[in-house]
Symmetry: D2
C-alpha cells in the first residue's frame, strides 16, 4: 500500500517493508542502540539480493543516527553527535596514514534544502595541499583530504557524475565520501537524522537530479555516502494524511458494512490519484521543507563537517579541528 | 470548514468564502477579464468592514493576474504579461513627473522561495541618484526611483519594518511599492499568479516573519504591494487531500447511513488534528515548494521587475528599459 | 611636499606633518605605548582648530593599534589583539546597561578590499531582538546591540548616509559604531593596523564613495569609527618611489651643483604630474592591494568583530561570545 | 632595463623587447589593423625558439584587441567588439558541427579582479546537455558547448589544473577555451584590452596562482586562452614612476657631467630595490586595480562571453544568443 512513498533512508524503507509483514524482512539485519539520551543509532545491513528487493536498497550497510536534540543547538550535545557520527563513519571505512580522501559535497547551492553538501565542503579540514606544498606544516595526525562541491554555481552542460569521475581519475583517492541532501518519509526527520552508507550514492537518490551514481562500480574506489533529510515529498504528506483518515474510519466501522467494503476497495493507484489532484502538474517535484530551512541547514552542515573531520583524520580533537580551521 | 487554510491571495480568500455561501459575498465586488489567451485578470474590491470580515482582507483593491503560460518561458508572452502588470499597477497609483517611488524587496535572500523581493530589486531601473548627481543624463520619461532589499544579509537585530520606516522618513517617497513572496492555497498558483494590492503589506502576511506592516497607516505614504505565491503551507496540502477523500466518500454514500453520519460528524478541529499528526512540530511552518524553485523565482522576478519598470516610469518601452539596465 | 599623499590614518597624517617640521605639531598630542611584543598603540589627540589644520583631521581622539603579528594567524596573539582593541574602544565610549548600540558595516560587498564592514557585521553578537522578543534569554552581561551593512547588495538610488540616518532616527541608539575600510600611506599597514576614532566617519574618508558623513553632527548621537587600511592609493606608491630616488640622488650630490639645483627645483605639482603619467585616467581611483586580499579581509574582520563584541557587552569573555555566536 | 616588469600580454612583451632594440625582434611577426574607430587589433606571431626567448612567450599566435571605448558602455560599440572578438577567435580555431567545446573560467570568485573567468562562464550559451537530453530542441547552428569555473567556492586541496584535466579526460572536448584575468604593464589596459592566444595558459601566467598550465601538451587537446588585464603589479607602477623621473633628468643633463654618470650607473637591481623599499613584504604580490573594479569586470565579462558565444556556435546572431540565454 505504501509503495508510492519515496524515501532515501534505508531505515524508513525497512520500516515500510516491516509494516506490511509480520515476519522479519529476509536478507536484512537490523541493530539498534541508544548510546545516550536523545541519540539513537540504527544499523541496517542489507545482506542479499532478497533483502535488496524487500527494501529497495542495494546490498551494504546503512547506519542512521537519530539526533532530534540538535534543534536545541546545545554545543555539548552537538559535540557528542559529532563524535558518534565520526565513530560510525570509521566502522565503515578502512584508512591508513597514507590514505587520500576526496569529499564531494553534492547539491545545488542556489536551492536552500539542496545546499547541505556545498556547505559541508566549506567547513572541512582540507589538507592535501599542505602535504604537497608545505609538508613540514603537516600535523602527524592529519591525512590527505581534498574536497569539491561540483554543483556550485559555474558548472554547466556537464553531469555532476562526469565531473566527480574525472577528478577521481586524477586525484586517485582511496576513499570518496559524498554528502547529499535526502528526502525522507516523515517531516520530523528533517534535519535530525543522519544516514551513513557504504553503498555510495545511487542514481536518482537524494533530492537533486543525479543521472549517474557515485558508487564503487562507477568510481573504481570505495564510496561512502553521508546524507541528511531536508525535505519530504509533498505527495508523501498527502498520502499520509489520507491514510490517517482511512485508519480512523476503519477503527470506527463494522466489518462487512457498506463502508467497510468501500474502504477495502481503495487501491494504491486510486489513493495516489486523489493526492495527485491536490498537487499541480508542470512544476516538477513538490517538496515540503521548513520555512526557516536555511538556519537548519547551516547547523547540520557544521555537525556533519566536524563528524567527517574527526573521522578521516587520525586522533584530532574538536579543539584541534577548530584551531586548524581558524 | 476551510478556515484553517492560509492564503495571502484575496482572490482565493474570496473563493473560499464563496464556497461556503450560495449568495454573493456582501461588501466584496469582483470583476474578471481575460484580455488575451492564458492571461486572466481578477479585480477584487473589498468595499466595507463587512467585506473585510467575510474574506479576511482589509478594505481596498486586490488585482490578480493568472498567467500560467510563464512556465513555458516564451519571451513574447512574457512581454505581454509585463505590459498587463504595468497597466494594473497604474490603475492603482497616481504618479506625476516629480514623484519619488521607493521600491522595497522584502524577503530573505538565503531562503530560495523567500528571495523574490531581493531579486526584483536587482533588476529595477533605479534612477534617483541620476536625478541628484548627473541630472543632464536623465531621460524625460524617467521618474525618481530608488530601491532597497532590507532582508538581505547584513541586517540583524532590527525589524524590517523599522528599517523601511526609517528610510521612508528620510527619502520621503510619494509611493512605496513592496514586493513579497506569498503563500497560496493551491500549488498550481506557485509562480503563475501575481497579486497587486493598494492596501500594502499587513503584519503576518507573506511567507517571511514580518511583525510590522507596510501600509499607508504605518508609513505615512501610499503603499502598493506586489506579491507572488512561491509556497503552499504543507497543512493546506494535507487538508486538501483529506477533503478530496471525504468528498469522494460522500458521493458514494446513502443519506442517513452509518457512514453518512460519521462524515457529518467530522469537524474542523478534528480534521486539522489529523493533518497535524502527519506534520512534525518544532520545525516551525512547513511549506511546499517546487524542487526547482530557484529557476522559477529567477523568471518571475524578471517579469515583476519589468512590469514595475514600465509602470513607474512614464512611457519607457521594454527596449528602453533593457538599454538603460545594460 | 607630501600633501598629495592620501591617508585615512590620523597617525600617518601626523607623521607626514612631523616630517615637514622639526617642532611638535601644535594642537596635537601624541602618546605611544607597547603593552606587549608586536602590539603598539598610538593615541593621537587633535586638541584644537590649529591641530585640525596641521594634520587635516577633525578635533577628537584617534587610537591606532599596530599589530603586524596578525599575519601569522596565531590564535593566542589574536586574542590579545581583540582584548586591546576592546579596551581602546571602551576608553572612547560611555555605555551603561540600558545602552543601545547600532553597528554599521560600511562598504561594498562586491569589491573585496571594501567588504570589511559587511564581514564584521556578519560576526557580531547581535542581541537587540533577544531583548525585545525573548527577554528571559538575555544574559545579564549583554547590552542591546543591532547591526546593519547598508552597502550590501540591494540598496540602490539611496545614499548610505540617508539609510543610516533613517535607521538611527528609528532605533535611537546611544552610540553608533561604524566600521570602514581605509586607505593608508604604506602597504605594510594593510591589514595590520586598526584605527579607532571618536570623530565618526567624515565625508570622503574610507575607500568607498561616501558623500555624507556619519558623525555626531549628522546623526545626533555619538559616533565611533573603527577602520582598517586595506588599500594604498597607487599614486602614493608612485610618489614614494620617486621620493626614494630623489633622496638617494640628494645624498650623492654636491650643494650648488647643476644637479643639486635641478633637484631643488622639483615641485609638488611636477612630481604629481610625473606619477599621473604612469596612471591611466578614466578608471577612477587606482588602488594597491594584496592579491590574496580576501583571506586577509576575512581574518581581520573576525578580529574587529570580536574586539567590538568584547567592548560593547559588559564582561563577556571570548568563550561566551563564541558560545552565543554558535 | 625593463626585465623586472611582469606582463601577461604578448603585445606588451614585444613592445618591451622592441624598446631595447632598434632592429626588428627576430622570430616575431607583428601585424596591426584598425578595422574601425577605437578598435585596434594587433596580431603577434612568435615563430621560433629565438622569438620565444626575445619576448618570453611560447611559439604561437597572440591576438590583442585594444578597445578603450568599452568604458563608455555604448551598446552599439560593444556589439562591434563582440563581433571582432568572435572573428579573431575563429581565426585561431578549427571547429565543425560535431565539435565539443569546453570553456574554463579560471580565477577566484572571492577576489574581484580575479573573478572575470567565473563571470564569463555565467553568461555562456551552454548546450551540451540539450544535445544529450532534449536533442529535438537543438538549433542547427548550435555546437556542443559545456563550461566550468573550477576556482569557484568549494574546491579545496586540489589544483585547478588537475580538475580541468580530469574533466577534459571525461568530456573529451575538441577544444578547450580558458578565460583568465591577466596582469598588464600599463593601467590604461585594464579592462580595455583582450588577448586571444592559441598557446593556452602557461604555469604562472594570469593573476591567480596556477601551478599547472592548460596547454595542448598538458590537456591533449588544443587550448585557446582568452585573457583580459584587470591588474598591474604595484612594482610596475613604482618602476614606471622612477623611469619617468630618470628620463626627465636625462633630458636635462649634459653628457659626461657628474649627474650624467650617476644616471648611467643605475642598474636594474638597484632600481628594483628602491621600489621594493616602498612595497611591504609578507603580503604576497601587491596589485593595482581600479576602486570600482566590480563594475568593469561585469561589463567586460559580458563582452567576452558574447564574443565566445558568437565564435563557437555556427552563425547565431546576438539576437539569437540573447533569446536562448533568456
Amino acid at each position: 500500500m505504501f509503495k508510492s512513498i519515496r524515501t532515501d533512508l534505508a531505515m524508513e524503507a525497512r520500516e515500510l517493508a516491516q509494516e506490511q509483514s509480520k515476519y522479519d524482512i529476509p536478507g536484512v539485519r537490523v541493530d539498534e542502540v541508544e548510546p545516550e539520551e536523545d541519540i539513537k543509532i540504527t544499523r541496517v545491513e542489507v545482506l542479499s539480493k532478497k533483502g535488496e528487493e524487500s527494501i529497495g536498497k542495494p546490498i551494504g550497510n546503512y547506519i542512521t543516527l537519530e539526533v532530534p536534540g540538535i534543534r536545541d543547538r546545545d554545543p555539548e550535545y552537538e559535540e557528542h553527535v559529532k563524535q558518534h557520527l565520526a565513530n560510525e563513519i570509521r566502522r565503515l571505512v578502512r584508512l591508513n596514514d597514507n590514505s587520500v580522501i576526496l569529499i564531494v559535497g553534492l547539491g545545488n547551492w542556489n536551492v536552500t534544502p539542496d545546499a547541505v553538501g556545498p556547505k559541508v565542503v566549506d567547513r572541512l579540514l582540507v589538507t592535501r595541499h599542505i602535504f604537497e606544498y608545505v609538508p613540514d606544516q603537516v600535523d602527524d595526525r592529519m591525512r590527505r583530504v581534498c574536497a569539491v562541491a561540483p554543483g556550485v554555481l559555474g558548472i554547466t552542460g556537464i553531469e555532476t557524475g562526469e565531473i566527480v569521475k574525472g577528478i577521481v581519475d586524477k586525484v586517485k583517492p582511496d576513499l570518496v565520501i559524498a554528502i547529499d541532501a535526502l528526502a525522507s518519509r516523515k517531516t520530523e526527520r528533517i534535519g535530525t537524522t543522519i544516514q551513513v552508507a557504504d553503498t555510495g550514492i545511487n542514481p536518482g537518490s537524494g533530492i537533486g537530479n543525479k543521472r549517474m551514481g557515485l558508487t564503487k562500480e562507477t568510481l573504481g574506489v570505495p564510496a561512502l555516502a553521508v546524507g541528511i533529510p531536508t525535505v519530504v515529498y509533498a505527495h508523501t504528506i498527502g498520502r499520509d494524511a489520507i491514510e490517517m483518515l482511512i485508519n480512523e474510519f476503519a477503527g470506527q466501522t463494522t466489518p462487512q458494512s457498506e463502508f467497510y467494503n468501500m474502504l477495502q476497495s481503495l487501491d494504491e493507484n486510486h489513493l495516489n490519484q486523489i493526492v495527485g489532484e491536490v498537487l499541480a502538474e508542470g512544476l516538477g517535484d513538490l517538496v515540503v521543507t521548513p520555512k526557516e530551512v536555511d538556519i537548519l541547514i547551516d547547523d547540520v552542515a557544521g555537525i556533519i563537517a566536524d563528524g567527517i573531520n574527526l573521522a578521516v583524520h587520525n586522533g584530532l580533537s574538536m579543539e584541534d579541528v577548530n584551531r586548524y580551521l581558524h
